[in-house]
């Protein structure tokens, strides 16, 4: 699928950047003419992936988080969120609903939400090296209003 447009954001793993990242993704996605519900799905999925990088990848340090947004042929948005943090030993287990290594503030539903709100979700991770999460969401073309 051809890349038609792209933007990359890079920021330190501060929680204040969660809101910025999902809003930026929503603004970039606007060129696909999404519905309000589609925009909200994108914001939610980005929030989950970025929060994971902030909370889990760098538990006691500040590290780099990268968000790459691409418009792909066929009116689709590709979102990649990458970190260079602790990584995930067992990705399949991590993706199971309710699985969490976090505190009481976590519910273990992040990956489940990303999966149900996006069309595809790929997770690549190497312990000690980092994690990248790539999601794709097709936006239905609407009749001209």
């Amino acid at each position: 699928m051809k890349i038609e447009n792209q933007v990359t954001l890079e920021f330190p793993s501060r929680s204040a950047n969660e809101g910025f990242a999902r809003t930026a993704a929503a603004c970039f996605a606007a060129q696909l003419d999404p519905t309000l519900e589609e925009v909200n799905d994108i914001k939610t999925a980005v929030s989950e992936a970025v929060t994971n990088a902030i909370v889990h990848a760098y538990p006691d340090t500040l590290g780099k988080v990268l968000v790459r947004l691409r418009i792909r042929e066929g009116n689709a948005l590709e979102i990649m969120v990458k970190d260079w943090g602790v990584g995930i030993a067992d990705v399949e287990r991590a993706r199971t609903p309710l699985f969490t290594t976090g505190s009481e503030e976590r519910s273990g539903m992040g990956f489940t939400i990303m999966e149900s709100f996006m069309d595809t979700l790929k997770v690549r991770s190497t312990p000690g090296k980092g994690t990248s999460v790539t999601m794709l969401r097709r936006i239905a073309r609407r009749a001209v209003r």
Partner: protein, 101 residues
């Protein structure tokens, strides 16, 4: 203030406003804990009409408040849930545990 509370006899209404993400959830969680402990209400109503965003951090906030209300033998209901937050809560199956009205 992300949480504004009203108390009437033994019923507590908490208006939660703003963004319930990891960045904002902690304050809301702590404030709800404090309010529940102080009021020991029979009923807690969480009014989410002012919520502009929620993700899985919001799920944890609701579950925590629900558990806390169980500890003080009270009931909890959630009202005026915006569409975006509702979709997140449904994806987690929260409606099987918490009363949404």
């Amino acid at each position: 203030m992300p949480v504004t509370c009203k108390e009437d006899k033994r019923s507590l209404t908490a208006l939660v406003a703003g963004e319930l993400d990891h960045h904002g959830a902690k304050t809301v969680m702590e404030e709800l804990d404090r309010r529940i402990d102080a009021a020991q209400p029979r009923e807690l109503t969480l009014d989410l009409s002012g919520l502009t965003f929620a993700d899985s951090s919001g799920i944890a906030v609701l579950l925590r408040a629900h558990r806390r209300m169980g500890q003080v033998r009270g009931a909890m209901r959630v009202v005026n849930t915006p569409d975006q937050a509702g979709k997140v809560f449904r994806a987690a199956g929260l409606e099987r545990i918490i009363r949404f009205e």
